[in-house]
């Protein structure tokens, strides 16, 4: 399928934007900046999806990711406050290995993209992508869609249980001791010795 020149230019710019901002995520100083760079990468991909006629998915990407990245940035600030990224930081481990792994993955996937023969079946001219998606979601694939909904609900409940102040066996700050097998007995399934292991911030370089 041939696209007009303007679309090609737009794609090129967006692709550069997506890759550069995706890469900047891991080499910027502030985690808030990192999450917004990731958001830029997502938005660029979303616009590419709109160019590919997936109108609903592209726009859904904007709002899904805006909310997700906002939550992410808030968590970053909660765990590590660094207004305006004054303190530079580089928190990595197994750095060389990771770079190698990333490059290998890219080469493998790029090889597949370049060498494999994919069928060329462009979109039919009369296809309305949004209607087709809607019919699919509430038609043939309704079970999948509804399962996704149920899983999301389960996630919500699980998340509230996990992150709430009260752990499974009482307050989280008390260290969640399971009850004894006999009333007043030792906690079930716990080793006898209670060694104090290194809590606190581990900030390895």
């Amino acid at each position: 399928m041939d696209y007009p020149l303007t679309v090609d230019i737009a794609f090129l710019l967006l692709a550069i934007l997506a890759v550069v901002s995706g890469w900047r995520v891991f080499c910027t100083d502030s985690m808030v900046r990192a999450s917004f760079f990731l958001l830029v990468s997502f938005i660029a991909v979303g616009v590419i999806m709109i160019l590919l006629a997936a109108e609903y998915l592209g726009v859904a990407m904007f709002f899904m990711m805006a909310v997700e990245m906002m939550v992410m940035a808030t968590f970053m600030v909660m765990f590590m406050m660094n207004p305006a990224g004054l303190n530079p930081m580089m928190m990595v481990h197994q750095h060389k290995f990771s770079i190698a792994a990333g490059v290998v993955i890219f080469v493998l996937l790029a090889g597949v993209a370049l060498l494999a023969e994919f069928p060329t079946n462009p979109l039919p001219a009369d296809l309305d992508p949004v209607t087709s998606l809607g019919n699919e979601l509430l038609g043939d694939s309704m079970l999948i869609f509804e399962s996704a909904g149920i899983v999301l609900l389960t996630t919500m409940i699980g998340v509230v249980v996990l992150s709430s102040h009260r752990g499974r066996y009482g307050g989280a700050h008390e260290g969640s001791m399971p009850p004894g097998l006999v009333p007043g007995g030792d906690p079930a399934g716990m080793p006898k010795e209670d060694e104090e292991e290194g809590g606190g911030h581990h900030h390895c370089h």
């Binding site: 909660m78 660094n82 930081m89 390895c204």
Partner: protein, 434 residues
Amino acid sequence: MAVSWLSRLAARARVPVFPALGMHGDTILHRLALTPGIELVDSPRHASILLVAGGVPPDLHEALRRLHDQLPAPFATLWYRSAPLSELAGDLRVDDPEALPEALKRLHRELMSGRRDSSPRLLPDEPPNPWEGLGDDGHGGEGMMGGVPYGRPMAMNMHDDIRDGLTLDSLTVTLGPFLPVLPPGLGAKVTLQGDLVQSWVTQLAPYPIALENVFHEALQRPVPIAELELARARHHLQRLAFSLRLSGLEHLALVALRLSRGLNVESRVGRLHRWLTRCGFFRLTAAGRGRLEAGQARRVGGIAARAAGLEEDLRSRDAAYRRLGFTPIVQRGGDTNARWRQTLAEIDHSLQLACRAEQEDLYSEMTEAVETPRGPWDDYRPEDASDILEDLLPGLEWDEALTTIASLDLAGVSEWPLEPLSETSLKDDEERQA
């Protein structure tokens, strides 16, 4: 051409004034708030004129210099009843409240037309602490904790969180003494987690407040009760106006100020009270936070004590007041909400007392002590009680903390009375403009 056209338009804008308050400077603000063509702004960045109102104590001069340098050019400084800093000796000083609005407007016009240069910077434009990072390009080093940029280490968890046990990184800052949302002169070192106040240390006590002359006279000789009660109501209305402005009810703040300006024995606050209830002031803004314990309430005295259920009012000891059938109004609760209900009830009560006292031409009879709007003044003047904030504020959100501070009258009473302002001139101001 285009530029001159732009600056001519800019010269006609409402004059954005940032007030830096010195001793007894806040009275002029009540007047400026009602003056057309003047806008009192909340941040020095939003101002074109820095108005230093009232004498600034020498130990705050350094803070005043820093504030002065925060205004974006072009800006000018105007000193109202205050001696200019030595570097700014040539600045305009105005002592006459009548002439102040016109002086502010003229200053703004001159700045915009380029006839007056922007005020010079007083301090070098450099960080208060040197860069202490590592490396050539100013980086703070490696690892999460990095270096110590500008003398400030990375925010760290030094305290346990007091709300939900999820310890977040805290931030410690120094606020005041010129922050317009705090009482004038109050300075504090505050540790915040997000917008939750983790700790509050009062470093600078607020300036003593000046009461109207009638309260000072009442300690020497009998004074007309009507005058005493009107002065009391005026004081409370002005505090109410400050709090209303803080909570975004500008028009009701102006209503309260106008009421306090033209207050006489016929005035009533019933309508203001109804408006406040209807717009949800008591439910949305002044919700029940900042509850005072009995001991704290007694220490603050006055409205705060009576709002906490203590029946302490020196007026009930005065025979003249007893003849008027005076009994103190008391609220239960002792929180922000109760304090504002108490304030409104007391304003209403004062106006009724004033009305009856004027009909019967009553004078106060007790001269050894007087109940000031700030609290009882017997052997001692009411003293500064701003250190109770250290117990009261931790655990509150920023908004709740500020509403609580605004609802408390904590500053001590000054030994000097307020200079009487002529009440008629302001009305003329407004009428002339309308």
